[in-house]
Symmetry: C3
Subunit: 378 residues, 3 copies
C-alpha cells in the first residue's frame, strides 16, 4: 500500500517533469526553426537583393525594392493568416510561411524589375500576397478538397513556379512596346554583387527547403539540397561553355541555383543519387534557357523578363514538380498534376490582372535607371 | 518489499538519467544561444563595418577600425567580467554581453569615424568598455540598488542610446573647428556596400534582441523585431520621399534599421501591432533626423556625427526606452526614467572625457582619407 | 502484486517515452551540427571566394572556381566515404567532414590561383580529395595504427597545413618560369571584397572548429576561437605597422585570420589566456610572412603562391599543431609529430604529382585574366 502510494507519487512527479520538459523540448524545436527562418531572411534580402543588382544604374532601386517587398509581404501575410480561415500555427511556423510568400513575390518582381516606379513595388506586394495565399489554400492546404496531397516540401511549384508565372504574366500586361526596345545593361563591378547574392542563396538554400520538415528528416533533406546544388553548379559550367564557347558569369550566378529550385518538391524523398541527377538536369535546362531561349526571346519579344525568372524559377520549378512523379513512392499523381495546373492558372490570371492594375499608377520616366527616383544617383 | 526496492531502483535510475539529460538540455540551450551569438558577430563585423564604408576614400580605415574595435572590446569585456565584482555566468552568455558592449562601442565610433588615427580606435575601445560596464552595472544589474527594474531586453537604452551619446560627446571634445569644415563625401559604389551592411544588420537583428531571452519567449520576441523592422523600412521610404521629394539611399540604409533600435526595450512585451507602430514611428523620427536635422546640423555645427548615430541610435533609442511606459504592463516607470537619465549622464561625461584623452594622442594629417595610413590606397 | 504490475507498466511506459525522447534529442543535436555546417558553407563559398577576389581582372574566375571546387569536393568526398572502408557516420557529420575537405582544397587552390584554366580546377578537385582522404585515414582515423592520437580538432594540421603544402607543391610543379615573371595586380575596389570574405571567415570560424565537438564542450571551444581571432587581428595591425610603417589592407584581410588557423589543434583544450597568446603569435608570424618573406620570395622565386597560403595556412597551421605540445595535457607527443610529418609528406608528394597531372591539360593563354574564358569580361 505504501509502495503503491509512493509509486503514484513518483509517477505523477515524473509526469509533471515530463510535461515541463516537453514544453522546453517544443520551444527548442521552435528555436531551431527560427535559425532556419533567419537563413531564409538572409536569402530574401541579401540573396535576392544582390542577385538583382546586375542591372547597371538600377542597383539602388533593386535593393530598395527588395527591402520594401519583404517589408510589405511579411506583416501582410501574417495578418491575413490570423483572420480565422486558416489553421492556427506556431509564430515561427507562421513567419516561415510568410517568408515563403515573400520569396515568391521577389521572384515575381524579378520579371518586371526596372520597369515600374518604386512605390509600385509596394502595390505589387499588397496585391500579390492575397493571390499567393489563395493558391496555397487550394493547392497545399487543399481547403476545398479538390486537389489531394501534393508533394512540394521546398516549394518548387507553389513558390518558384507560381512566382515566375505571375511575374511574367504581370510583365506582359504592363510592359509597353517602347519599353521592350530598351536593352538591359550590366557591368563588371555589379557582376560581383550578383555572385554574392547567388552565393548567399546557395549557402542557405537547404534551410529554405528543410524549414518546416520534421526534425528527424532534416539531415537527409539538407544533404539532398546541397547535392542538387552541386549538380546544377557543375552542369551550368559545362552547359555554359558548351553552348556559348566561353562562360557567362550570369549563367553561373543564376543557373547554378536551379538545382535548389528543382529539388524543392522532392527534397525529403529523393535519394542522394536522385538529388544529383535532378540538380544536374535543372542546371542544364536553366542554362539552355539563359543561353539560347533568352537570346531568342530578345529577338522576338524583346525584353519581358528582366531577371530571367522563367529560366531560373519557372522551368526548373515545373521540372521539379514533375520529377516527384518518378521519385516519390505512392505519390498521388493526379493531385500533383492538378496542383501544377491550378498553380499555373491562378498565377497567370492573377499576374495579368495585377500587372494591369499596377500600370494604372503610371510608369517611370526612364526605365532601368536610379536617376529618376534617387538623389545623388550615379 | 521487493516491489518497493525495484521502485526505488527505478526512480533512482530515472533521476540519474534525468540529471545527465538535463545537462545535455542545458548544453543544447547554450548552443542555441551560441547561434545567436554568431548572428550578432555577423552584425558587428559585416553589418556595422560595411554600413560605415559609405565615406568615400575611407573604406579601408572603416573596415580595419571595425576589426580592431571588436577585437579589443570582446576580450577586454570578458576579462573585466571575471574580476569578481560581477555575477558568474555561462561562457556564451558572457560572450553575448561582450558583443553587446562591442555593438555600443561601434555606435560610439560611428560618430567620430574618420577624424582619428587608426590606433586611436584601439584607445577608444580600451577606454569605452569600462564606462560601458559601469553603466551596465548600475542600470541593468542595479548593483547599488538605486535604479530598480529597467525594461531594456534588446538594449535600446544601454546599448544604442548610450553608444550614440558617448560618441557625440567624444566627437564634441575631440573635433577641431578646422575638421568641421571638411565635408564628408560618399559615392555610388560604396552605397551598395552600405546597403549590404544594412541588410546584414536587418536580417540578424532579431537574434540581437532575443539573444538572452528565455527559450519559450523567443518566437514572440523575434517576430516582434521583424515586424518593427518592416514598419520602419516602409516608413523610411515614405518619409524620405515626403521630405526630400526623391529617395535618399542613405536614409534607406540607415533609418530602415530604426525599428530594430526602438523595439529593443519592449521586444518581449509588445504585441505585434504595437511592434509595427513602434517601428513605423522610429523610422519616421530617424528619417526626419537624417533628412532635416542633419542638413541643418551641417549648416550650424558642420560635421560632428559622421555616421549620424544620433539619428539612428540616439533618438530611436530613447524613444524605444520611453515606449516601454505605454507598452509594458506593471513597468516600474521611475526606474525606467532613472535608467535613461543615468545612462545619459554617464555617456556624456565619459564621452567628453574619453574624447579629450584620445585627442592627446594627436590627430590625422588628413581626415576621412585612407591615404595617410594605408599603403596602396586609392 | 498489483503495485508491482503497475510499476512494471509505469517503468515500461517510461522506457518507451525515453526512447523516443532520446531519438528527438539526437535529432536536435544533429540539427545543431547542421547550423554549424551552414556556417562552414558560408565560409567556403562567400569567405574563401571573396577573399580570392583581390586579384585584379580575375574576380569572375576566382568566384567561379570557388563554386566549382566546392561542388566537386562535397559529393566526391561523400561518395568515397560510402565505399565501406570508413566508419559509418550521421549524414550531417559526413557533410561536415566533406566541408573540411573542401576547405583544404580551396586553400590548395589559393596557391595556384590564376595560373590554370577554369576546367582544371575541376580536375584539381577530383585529384585532391582522394589524397586528402588518405591523409585523414592515416592521421586522424589512425587506420593503420601507425600514428596514435593526434590533437587536431579544428584542423590546423590536416586541413590548413595539408592544403597549403599541397598547393605550394602543385604550384612548383605546374608554374612555368614565364608565369613567374608576371606580377599579380590588385586594386582598391576589390580590396573591399577581400575584407568581406575575410570577415565572413572570421565570424563563422568558431563553428568550423567546434563543428564536431561534443555539445557540452562547444561554449569553451567557440569562445577560445573568438579570443584567438581577436589576438591575431590586433597583432596583425601592430606587426603590419611595425614592419611596413603603413598598414597593408591585405595583411589585415589575411593575417587577422591566422589565429583561427593556429587555434584549430587546441581549440577545445586551451585556456582563454592561451588562446589569446596562440592567436597573437600566429598573427605576428603570418604578418611577417606576408610583409617580409613574400616580398623576398617575389625577388628570388617570383610568384609561386598567389594568395600567400603558406603565410596564412601553412606556417600558422604547423605552429598550431606544435602548440598542442605545450597546451594539451597528456598529449601523445610522438603521435602529434608523426601526424605532422606524415601530413607534410603526403601533401608534398601528392601536390607535386597532381600539379604535373594538371599541367598535362594545357595552360591559359593569359594568366590572371578573366578575359580568356568569360564573355563580357572587363
Amino acid at each position: 500500500m505504501v509502495s503503491f502510494a509512493v509509486l503514484s507519487l513518483c509517477c505523477s512527479v515524473k509526469l509533471f517533469a515530463e510535461h515541463s520538459e516537453s514544453g522546453t523540448m517544443s520551444s527548442i524545436l521552435q528555436v531551431q526553426q527560427y535559425d532556419r527562418a533567419i537563413h531564409i531572411m538572409a536569402m530574401l534580402l541579401i540573396g535576392f537583393g544582390f542577385l538583382m543588382v546586375f542591372v547597371r544604374k538600377y542597383g539602388r532601386s533593386a535593393l530598395t525594392a527588395t527591402f520594401l517587398l519583404v517589408s510589405v509581404a511579411l506583416p501582410l501575410y501574417m495578418a491575413i493568416k490570423q483572420l480565422g480561415i486558416f489553421e492556427e500555427k506556431g509564430e515561427i511556423e507562421q513567419l516561415i510561411f510568410a517568408e515563403f510568400g515573400a520569396a515568391s513575390l521577389l521572384i515575381a518582381a524579378g520579371a518586371i524589375l526596372g520597369r515600374i516606379k518604386i512605390f509600385q513595388y509596394l502595390i505589387l506586394g499588397l496585391l500579390f500576397i492575397p493571390f499567393y495565399l489563395l493558391n496555397e489554400l487550394i493547392v497545399i492546404d487543399d481547403y476545398f478538397h479538390i486537389v489531394g496531397k501534393v508533394a512540394d516540401t521546398g516549394g518548387s511549384i507553389v513558390i518558384h513556379f507560381f512566382g515566375a508565372l505571375f511575374g511574367i504574366a504581370a510583365a506582359v500586361s504592363l510592359t509597353s512596346k517602347k519599353d521592350m526596345e530598351i536593352p538591359i545593361q550590366s557591368d563588371a563591378t555589379t557582376d560581383k554583387y550578383s555572385i554574392l547574392g547567388s552565393m548567399v542563396l546557395w549557402v542557405f538554400w537547404p534551410s529554405f527547403c528543410a524549414a518546416l520538415v520534421p526534425v528527424e528528416a532534416i539531415p537527409h533533406t539538407v544533404v539532398n539540397v546541397f547535392i542538387a546544388l552541386c549538380g546544377s553548379t557543375i552542369a551550368t559550367y559545362v552547359a555554359s561553355i558548351a553552348i556559348r564557347k566561353k562562360v557567362s558569369i550570369a549563367d553561373i550566378a543564376n543557373a547554378a541555383l536551379a538545382g535548389g529550385v528543382a529539388i524543392g518538391a522532392t527534397c525529403d524523398f529523393a535519394s542522394h543519387g536522385q538529388a544529383m541527377i535532378i540538380g544536374a538536369i535543372a542546371g542544364i535546362i536553366s542554362t539552355v534557357g539563359f543561353a539560347i531561349l533568352q537570346e531568342k526571346q530578345q529577338k522576338f519579344h524583346k525584353i519581358i523578363d528582366t531577371c530571367g525568372v522563367s529560366n531560373l524559377h519557372g522551368i526548373p520549378g515545373i521540372f521539379g514538380g514533375l520529377a516527384a512523379i518518378v521519385v516519390v513512392d505512392g505519390l498521388d499523381i493526379p493531385a500533383q498534376l492538378k496542383g501544377i495546373a491550378i498553380t499555373a492558372a491562378i498565377a497567370i490570371i492573377a499576374g495579368l490582372l495585377v500587372g494591369k492594375l499596377i500600370s494604372l499608377f503610371g510608369k517611370p520616366t526612364e526605365i532601368y535607371d536610379d536617376f529618376a527616383e534617387f538623389i545623388d544617383a550615379e
